[in-house]
């Protein structure tokens, strides 16, 4: 591409870094045609500024960036470890068994036989037979109860006579 085309592209803001380098080189070298000489100071200015910023460029800054970089790497590792750990332990705590299971006193049971028998025992604790709450009555038949009551009534009446 010739310089005129490059210049046109340059003023449209369409030149690449490489093409701009070509332009700067062209204008910094000796034989620039007279009709293009007006552009010399422009590129000369950029060259000057480049040199200036190059010498000004600070190396120590890189250390700061370095540290920042490693810090974030460490932070990322810690975070990952934390998340993985949290997930892993959380899984252990709240989902210790799989499939059908019951938790009794913090223990996990998934064997149906065992569960059934434990359930029966537990139910036994809260249920009770009539024997337990009516011990006196259960020993006697209905007739005896009847007779006893008549006898008591007779006694009362007899006393009043």
């Amino acid at each position: 591409m010739n310089i005129d085309d490059l210049l046109a592209k340059y003023f449209e803001g369409e030149t690449s870094a490489e093409e701009e380098r070509t332009l700067r080189r062209f204008f910094s070298e000796g034989d620039v045609p007279e009709e293009l000489a007006v552009y010399k100071p422009l590129f000369g200015y950029f060259d000057q500024e480049r040199e200036r910023s190059e010498t000004k460029k600070v190396i120590p800054l890189r250390n700061v960036k370095h540290r920042f970089y490693w810090l974030s790497a460490i932070a990322a590792c810690l975070l990952t470890a934390f998340m993985v750990g949290k997930y892993y332990f959380a899984a252990q705590d709240s989902y210790p068994c799989s499939g059908n299971y019951v938790i009794i006193n913090g223990q996990c049971y998934s064997d149906p036989e065992k569960v059934r028998s434990m359930a029966l025992v537990a139910l036994q604790e809260v249920s009770s037979t009539p024997d337990e709450y009516l011990p006196a009555i259960s020993d006697l038949s209905d007739e005896q109860i009847f007779e006893n009551q008549l006898k008591e009534l007779g006694n009362i009446l007899g006393d009043e006579e």
Partner: protein, 175 residues
Amino acid sequence: MSVTPSNVYTMELETFKTTVLPLREKLLKFSLKMTNEGADAEDIVQEAFLKLWYIREKLDGYNSVEALSVQVVKNLCLDRLRAKHTDRMPENGEMLLADTSSPEVLLEQQDTVEVIRRIIEKLPTLQQSIIRMKDVEGYELFEIAEITGTQVEAVRVNLSRARKKVREQFLMINR
């Protein structure tokens, strides 16, 4: 693992994109409210992002990047309003006459490079920044677009305007 400068730079850009750029909407609204003009507001926000980009290493030291960004935008708005009040952008080389050594003198001294410097210094600040980033610091258009959170085309247009204005003014003086 080695860290090349370009690596670091990419990382910085990523960090910048996640910490600063999300403020764009908010800043634009704020800037719009202050300047009352869409184009100005947009320019100011882009300028603010460039300013923040150049202090990116120090951003961690601020309590709130958001508060800082708002302050930067606010100052840029005030600058802009003040400039509008007192000044108009001169259309020709007259603006340079006020300097101590006039362009004519500089030209006589063959100090044309200095003339270019003066012209660039008088460009709107956003254009100044873009031309500097592209022509001196070697940024690519897409990088500038990423930093300012805008389209590549918008940056290209601004760059083209800046370069053409420099040419125009230089030719006017150099006639």
